[in-house]
């Protein structure tokens, strides 16, 4: 209690608040420090405002019509006093029943009451695609409800049986859902040796991003799992407890949840696929164990130096990122610093969340975009083709618009099929207190950002038209990208913290051509072709697409290679660089189709939904 107005008869007292440290506080999340607030004409923070009345409608939010909103994410308490309550969950797009249509897997969080058996746990959803624009949750029948505190998901056919399997990361023990080829799955994580069970349900690791990739070229998918923090349910990191200090529990001088700085970071794991349904942890031997205990979130196997071998990216929260270059001998070289990927261009560690990977300049080099915290810009890493990166965030036009947003899921997608990859970023704050502090200029629920590729190394923000998908405001986390309706347009599914999902259907009015490839490997190439790179030449440009598992934020996207073709009504050449070796060239007979291609056999079939509508 302060004294009354000093003077007169009342004495002043100048007490010291118990919770205030005498030493300067440090934010729990890395950022550049407070940045200028931006408001729209209605004085809404730009993160929730800045909408325009009219303009091109690119995406429409159709989650309710599609039947997705019967499910919702539940993660901890609304107050978000503990960091694990704010991380949210991922989403995967996979065709689990091999009917040719993408289904949706939504990971769910949990609550402390559910963890102690006081309430029923929230469950994950597996939305089966009904092929009519709607989806049905079949998670219970399929046996993939998880019922643990879920975070991430990666899709991969680890046993090469032609059916996609699911790896789900948890706050605690993870799941490996083996696809039984009959619409059901069986959790084989323990048997396979990838559960990462701590042996003590009270003291666990917060496992986050996962990615499949065949790092040793034996034709079998290996698995990487990132670790965030060690977490003790009996002693959670709350300010003022022995679990943490006060110093990392502040943001803009306000008390908020603690961490991740100041918390004990968890290591990462690389599991080698033994080919018999089991895996062996080779993290140390391979040199990717994260001995520094950085706070891992996004993870992705992808070839950044064009040597045909998958390298490994780990986006670390408030700590330097990892870029491990695959040496081809079962080990990796840590090139994080020399490559320029560890830190942003200022040499500063940032709160990395998601990873987008794509060749946005159409020069054959795989570029990267890491999302991160508010008061900081999302970082665009331009690849020189050798796996060395430059921070071109400002030059590319991405930096400034992203500063007030807390970015999570992200991905490159050619939303208008013009042959140039655009960039989509999902946002949502981690501190609910943002809504009580308008001076921050940022909201808890935030809108996504779509950047249009201007074909000159720069991007332009696509305006958020009132009522359209880009104006949808939510506490976004995981995001996956894919052609859910087999119409050649890439849609977006978002897993929101403590809310229903968002399905943004691509309704862009372009009439550009497109083509997709569903690849099937054999021999030294994993069956689902993860790690394969496809180059396509059409309309005078050569594009690149990579078959990836994982990435974005705790999510896994459509594995089919999608290319926008612009006005080009034919493809000059398709060159497939199969994972594990082998280059195959094709000339597809027509466009606007989804081709099935099997290694060594060329095109084995196609799907053309537009043909049925008489447009071809």
């Amino acid at each position: 209690m302060r004294g009354l107005l000093c003077g007169i008869l009342a004495a002043c007292t100048f007490p010291i608040a118990a919770q205030n440290p005498a030493s300067p506080a440090q934010n729990g999340m890395a950022s550049a420090g407070p940045q200028a607030a931006t408001f729209d004409r209605e004085h809404r923070p730009i993160t929730a405002g800045g909408l325009v009345k009219t303009g091109p409608v690119v995406l429409m939010e159709i989650a309710k019509q599609a039947g997705l909103t019967t499910w919702r994410n539940v993660t901890g308490t609304p107050q978000k006093n503990i960091i694990v309550e704010a991380k949210g969950s991922g989403v995967a797009l996979l065709d689990y029943d091999n009917d040719g249509w993408l289904d949706i897997y939504m990971v769910n969080g949990s609550t402390f009451d559910a963890q102690t058996g006081k309430t029923a746990p929230p469950h994950a959803a597996l939305f089966h695609n009904n092929r009519d624009g709607t989806f049905t949750d079949v998670a219970q029948q399929a046996g993939v409800t998880n019922d643990r505190w879920g975070l991430g998901v990666a899709v991969g056919d680890y046993d090469n049986d032609g059916w996609p399997d699911l790896y789900v990361t948890n706050l605690g023990t993870n799941r490996l859902y083996h696809n039984n080829r009959n619409g059901t799955f069986t959790d084989v994580a323990e048997k396979a040796g990838v559960a990462l069970d701590s042996g003590n349900p009270q003291v666990v690791v917060d496992h986050t991003g996962a990615t499949f990739g065949d790092y040793d070229g034996d034709g079998r998918l290996d698995l990487f799992v990132a670790g965030y923090i060690h977490f003790d349910f009996q002693n959670p990191p709350i300010a003022g407890t022995k679990a943490t200090s006060f110093e990392t529990c502040q943001y803009r001088s306000l008390n908020v949840m603690c961490g991740p700085r100041g918390l004990e970071g968890a290591g990462d794991h690389l599991f080698h696929n033994n080919g018999d349904g089991t895996f062996t942890d080779v993290s140390e031997k391979a040199g990717v164990s994260d001995r520094s205990g950085f706070y891992g979130l996004g993870a992705l196997f992808v070839d950044v130096n064009n040597d045909g071998r998958p390298d490994l990216l780990v986006a670390d929260d408030s700590t330097p990122n990892y870029l491990y270059i695959n040496k081809g001998d079962g080990t990796f070289e840590d090139d994080s610093y020399s490559s320029g990927y560890a830190l942003n261009g200022d040499g500063r560690e940032v709160s990395n969340m998601g990873i987008a990977a794509g060749d946005y300049e159409n020069n054959g080099h795989l570029d990267l975009v890491n999302t991160d915290f508010s008061d900081d810009y999302d970082v665009v890493f331009l690849n020189d083709g050798q796996g060395d990166f430059s921070d071109v965030s400002y030059r590319s036009g991405i930096a400034s618009p992203t500063i007030p947003f807390v970015g999570f899921g992200d991905g490159f997608l050619d939303y208008d099929n013009d042959g140039w990859k655009d960039l989509f970023i999902v946002n949502g704050h981690v501190y609910p207190q943002a809504d009580q502090h308008p001076e921050w200029g940022m909201s808890y629920a935030q809108r996504p950002l779509l950047f249009h590729n201007l074909q000159n190394g720069k991007f332009e923000l696509v305006p958020a038209v009132e009522g359209a998908g880009l104006a949808t405001v939510a506490v976004g986390r995981g995001a996956a990208f894919g052609d859910l309706f087999n119409d050649g347009k890439i849609d977006v599914v978002i897993n929101n913290l403590d809310g229903p999902p968002i399905l943004l259907r691509n309704v862009n009015p372009d009439r550009h051509h497109w083509i997709e490839f569903k690849l099937t490997g054999n021999g030294k190439t994993p069956r689902d072709a993860v790690g394969t790179t496809v180059y396509l030449t059409a309309g005078g440009i050569r594009q690149r697409e990579d078959v990836m598992s994982g990435g974005s934020y705790l999510s896994s996207s459509d594995m089919r290679a999608h290319f926008g073709l612009g006005e080009a009504a034919s493809v000059d050449e398709v060159e497939i660089h199969w994972a594990g070796g082998g280059i195959e060239k094709l000339k597809p007979p027509a466009v606007d189709r989804i081709y099935s291609v099997e290694k060594g056999k060329g095109i084995t079939g196609f799907l053309c939904t537009l043909c049925k509508k008489g447009k071809q």
Binding site: A17, N20, Q26, E264, G293, S338, A342
Partner: protein, 326 residues
Amino acid sequence: MLVASAQNSQTQTPYDQAHAAFARGDYAQAADLYAQADAAHPGQSDALLFEGKSLANLGKFAEADAVLRRYAFRHPDSADAFFMLGFVLHREDKPADSLKEYTQAAKLATPKADDLRIVGLDYVLLNDYPDAIHWLEKATTFDPQNEQAWYSLGRCYYSQSRFKDAESSLQRALSLDPKDAKAVTNLALAYEMDNNLAEADRTYRSSIELAQADPHTDEWPFLNYASFLLENDRTAEALPLLRRAVVLNPRCADCHAKLGKALAATGNSQEAVTELTAAVALSPDDPKLHYALGHVYQSLGMRDKAKAELDLSAKLYGSRDAAGPQ
């Protein structure tokens, strides 16, 4: 006159001579004379109090602290002693102790605006900005002509991202002292944070004009404006300001670092190495600087040197076990 003066000083007591020295700002002599006066008649006057004030004016805060405590012990009803002790403790970077003394003082007399300003700054040192703002607002209410109180309040608003309020306070400070270069620079920063870039630019330029005319200026106006220009992709304009900043303060690591990065961005890698090397020498534990230097070496094809710097950067960022470096 000289004789008369000498005779006069012979007839004056050390206490009188101390007051005279204090009045003309000769605090060293005043402190000695006050000490003599108190030694001659212990506890019989306020000589110790003024000795403490003299020492504080000399920046000898620890000595002032000891003297003032002796005086306050003998004179527990002296508000002046406790106010002064609060000030001295603030300057000793002991904000909690300072607040205790101010609380004691306020039981005895009404604080003045300047006292409340120091109380506010104590809360700043304690990272308690809401209370800091509370007392600084009181200080400006008590004395709306207190330029320093307005300035401090503006700084606190700025720290709390209340940029409009910061602008108002700093404008008020400048209405009282238009030559306050710190207030001008901070006003420019507030405009910048408020996204009023044109006004920020104009105000930064004013801060540079003031700094150019001030033979005692420091590097901050130049560094702040240069940072603004770099943020706005005006590297060429930033370069001369940064060159001036490193001349004004060759020990400013941030100045060398920004100059080095600006030079690297404009393709002058060799000179960038010189500046970044200087920055690294001044701030060897900053991983960002080693990272920047490493990448400039890399661009020059000096792979061994690049590796050494990048490895050092990685080492400095360290690990994240709970007790590890943050």
